[in-house]
Amino acid sequence: MLTALILVPVLAAILLALIPSRRSELHLPLGIALSMVPLALALYVFWLFEPVAGFQMTEQAMWYEPWGIGWNLGIDGISMPLVVLTALLVPIALGASTSVTIRRKEFVVFALLLEAAMIGVFCALDLFLFFIFFEAVLVPMYFIIGIWGSERRVYAALKFFIFTALGSALLLVAIIALAVTHADQFGVPSFALGDLIGLDLPTGTERWLFAGFAVAFAIKVPLVPLHTWLPDAHTEAPTAGSILLAGVLLKLGTYGLLRFNLSLFPQTSVDAVWIMGILAVLGIVYGAAVAIVQPDLKRLVAYSSVSHLGFIVLGTFALTSGSLQGAVIQNVNHGLTTGALFLLVGMIYERRHTKQIAEFGGLQRVMPIYAGFFLFMAFASIGLPGLNGFIGEFLVLVGSFTTLPVLSVIAATGVILAAIYLLWAYQRVFTGEPSTEENRVLRDLSTREIALLAPLAALVLVIGLYPGILLEKIAPSTESLLDQIEASTGYTVPEPGRLADVIVSGGDE
């Protein structure tokens, strides 16, 4: 099942590559149609997924026995939502790419290969395999930014590539070190996550390895001060690139921290709570503050990502039931809302060929539907109750308050700052009288554009009103992660940090 989910986009890419470039009108529609297959598979996976702890739909095959590397796949409550999110965002990103006129074939092929790699990252339970997918993501994304981006695309693409490659270089060393340690302790090397969790690491080694993993993922997230590649990459990338970058690629970092740092190095994770928490809060406040002063709408959304991703990292390392669930569900929320915001910015850019906030004004008179979607997504991003952002940020903040009260109070200011930068941007772009002649004649959204936004808006509302649809599938996995951390370290989650505390105390009253 999961293998099919990875291989279908690859096969689709090969199929499209075989269609000659001169039939360029075929590639995009066919690409969208083919990317519906993984989406259907992902929804089927979602439906099959049982709300229990542990990995499901696992597949194991030996890849190269002497090295102990295997094609080990499986998903749990932490990775499943991200797989579905990826499969959902790719057709939308492709649908938003009608303005790609040069080399359409290559564009669609790279997007589909990117999808395969991204799904692979979330499904891989073997560190070698994980690393392969983690790096494989870079190449198509590099081309997508570098070929189809705006003016400074080559610089932005290179910066993106070098930053992330530097991170994964350290990750590679740490992975090698784990496998060699496994060979020392058990006689055979192994890269399987399940095997490596059981390693007995000296404290010093564990800290170094934690750092190797954490730096790689922190660059991806990105955590301040390793974030400088992100505004450039986002601003220069084409719309589809920005959607996938914000929607999925950044989640490789937060997912990696949740999946690998917490489970492989529980003791160091517990020890590093403060460091990671401070970095996360720094990102929340800094990203939001910088977003306020951005004159470029796309850069504003990019910096808002830095801020929002900070919540996820804070939730990850606050180590309570609520904060972990919040982190996981916020992964999805951020993908939906920020993906939609980039989509919206792309739509206005296609009309006006500018992203400067100062160029716009009074758009809600001429584009009411567009303005409605923008405001809706902005509210979701701010965390208005009833919409999905509220659920994630609320869970993170409440969960973090148990263990990191000071930091979670500071983090809460991020929500206020989000309201400032998004609503102020909304005010400047949409309210008042249309400022220029060009703004007065803008078309409102077409049916195609509404069709791209509608599923995202619907999910924002569904998760906002009934988060249980995701949380019941997430909770068993985050609980078992906490159990594992408690069992392997002296750490206990202070009351009422565990789900059990809440339920029991609720019963008493």
């Binding site: 997918f133 790096e135 081309f143 570098g146 060393v173 090698i176």
Partner: protein, 485 residues
């Protein structure tokens, strides 16, 4: 009556066939003056036969290994040992020669009456290096090195365009001879210190004896290392490489560089890992130092080049450093796997250079590659795969190779070297990407026609780069037994 020693012809059969092939090419040319294609066919036949002989040797080596009895290995009077290591090295050399001839075909064909000489020299250099990978004796090693290198010196200068090629050939010859002299002096000192020339016997000597004053032996080892480091263009002995890579005929540079790398690293692995592991306290830090220096110097200098040939030369320095981490890690299979996949990528990359800049032109400015993705999409795609392979991205053979040598080095306790290696790998990404950017993101004029042999080279080299990256077991299983006995 003097007893004649029993001669195991099988041990040197591939070299005999290659040398005979070279002679046949020259004789046929004198007698019948055929078209170059006939001579090319004759050379391929020689390669094919040599390959067949190597397969037979491989079967023998497998049997000997399977029985756990290294005494059953085919030997040639203690001079040559046909173990898994030698067989793997020979396979690599023969395969690289075959695709090297294809890659350089336009150039070889264009030489007119001198194509016979060039083909004969190619076969002779392969003969020399083939002896080198199997030699178990320092004299034999030197002979193989010289036979192979001398042929390469001539090939470097054998081109229609004089100036640069002459400079390259003379520079290569002078510095190369100097390095060979250093090597042979080192071998002599080793002999003076131990009284042995056979690598196994040297090992035995150190296993049984402790030298009160090992100075002579240590100087000898240092000189041997310097001589071989020169051949593989490891820093700080690399300064010849960019000039030679630039001046020598593009069609054959890939072949020349690949052969020197394979044979040079085979020799380093055999002499140091097999011969003097007891003295590793002395040479291991030096090898690590050479490795570290190469990994830093290569990528950094490649960054500032504007000529693709010089970039590839400096990338070769970087790769020498990466492969050296495998030597430091003590894993000969990893070393041989790396040189094999790198050799294939190198030949493929220079096949592109030969097409883009002309087979004998000595400049290959980056500007020539502008918009190559439109002018020749297939070649641009293949070159991209090769460059990503050299950069060591996952799903290419280059990644598996790097992974392997880095793991060995880590397990051997050289963590700092591994960290340095991965960081410099990232630096190297920059100039590989620079070429890719030029091909895909710049606009260029003029269609490029790729000749058929070059198409084959590109298809084969790109295909195996991905194939060995996705299914590494194919080559790794073959390399598993590739350790010297």
């Amino acid at each position: 009556m003097i007893p004649t020693p029993e001669i195991s012809w099988l041990a040197i059969l591939p070299e005999l066939l290659l040398a005979l092939g070279a002679a046949a090419v020259l004789l046929v040319d004198v007698q019948w003056k055929p078209e170059a294609i006939t001579l090319g066919g004759l050379s391929s036949l020689a390669l094919l036969l040599a390959g067949g002989a190597t397969v037979v040797q491989w079967a023998h080596a497998q049997d000997a290994l399977g029985l756990g009895n290294s005494a059953d290995l085919i030997e040639f009077s203690g001079m040559v040992t046909v173990d898994g290591f030698a067989v793997f090295g020979r396979f690599a050399l023969l395969a690289v020669t075959a695709i090297g001839i294809l890659a350089g075909w336009r150039y070889l064909d264009g030489l007119g009456r001198r194509s016979a000489e060039a083909l004969a020299l190619v076969l002779l250099s392969t003969t020399g290096f083939s002896i080198m990978v199997a030699s178990n004796n320092l004299i034999m090693l030197f002979l193989g090195l010289e036979v192979g290198s001398l042929a390469l010196y001539v090939l470097a200068g054998l081109t229609a365009e004089r100036g640069r090629a002459d400079e390259a050939a003379i520079k290569y010859f002078l510095l190369g001879s100097f390095a060979s002299a250093i090597f042979v002096y080192g071998a002599a000192l080793l002999y003076a210190g131990t009284g042995e020339l056979e690598i196994l016997a040297i090992r035995g000597f150190f296993a049984g004896n402790i030298l009160a004053s090992p100075t002579v032996v240590l100087i000898g080892l240092a000189l041997v290392l310097v001589g071989l480091a020169f051949k593989v263009s490891a820093a700080p002995f690399h300064s010849w490489a960019p000039d030679v890579y630039q001046g020598a005929p593009a069609g054959l540079v890939g072949y020349m560089a690949a052969m020197a790398k394979i044979a040079g690293f085979a020799a380093i692995a055999r002499v140091f890992l097999r011969g003097v592991p007891e003295l590793d306290w002395s040479w291991l830090p030096v090898a690590a130092g050479i490795s570290a220096l190469s990994m830093v110097v290569g990528p950094v200098l490649a960054l500032v080049q504007d000529d693709v040939r010089r970039m590839l030369a400096y990338s070769g320095v970087a790769h020498a450093g990466f492969i050296m981490t495998g030597v430091v890690g003590g894993g000969t299979p990893g070393v041989l796997f790396y040189v094999a996949v790198y050799a294939v990528q190198l030949v493929g990359a220079f096949a592109v250079v030969a097409v883009v800049s002309g087979p004998s032109n000595s400049a290959s400015p980056l500007a020539d590659y502008k918009g190559l993705s439109n002018r020749s999409p297939g070649m641009a795609a293949a070159f991209t795969v090769l460059l990503l392979g050299m950069a060591g991205l996952p799903l290419t053979s280059g990644f598996i190779a790097k992974f392997r040598v880095f793991s060995d080095a880590w397990a051997a306790g050289f963590g700092w070297l591994v960290v340095l290696a991965v960081v410099t790998s990232v630096v190297a990404f920059v100039f590989y990407l620079r070429i890719i950017v030029t091909m895909y993101m710049d606009q260029g004029e003029g269609a490029v026609s790729v000749n058929l042999p070059a198409r084959w080279v590109l298809a084969i080299s790109a295909a195996v780069t991905i194939l060995w990256g996705v299914f590494p077991a194919m080559l790794l299983d073959l390399a598993r037994d590739a350790f010297p006995l």
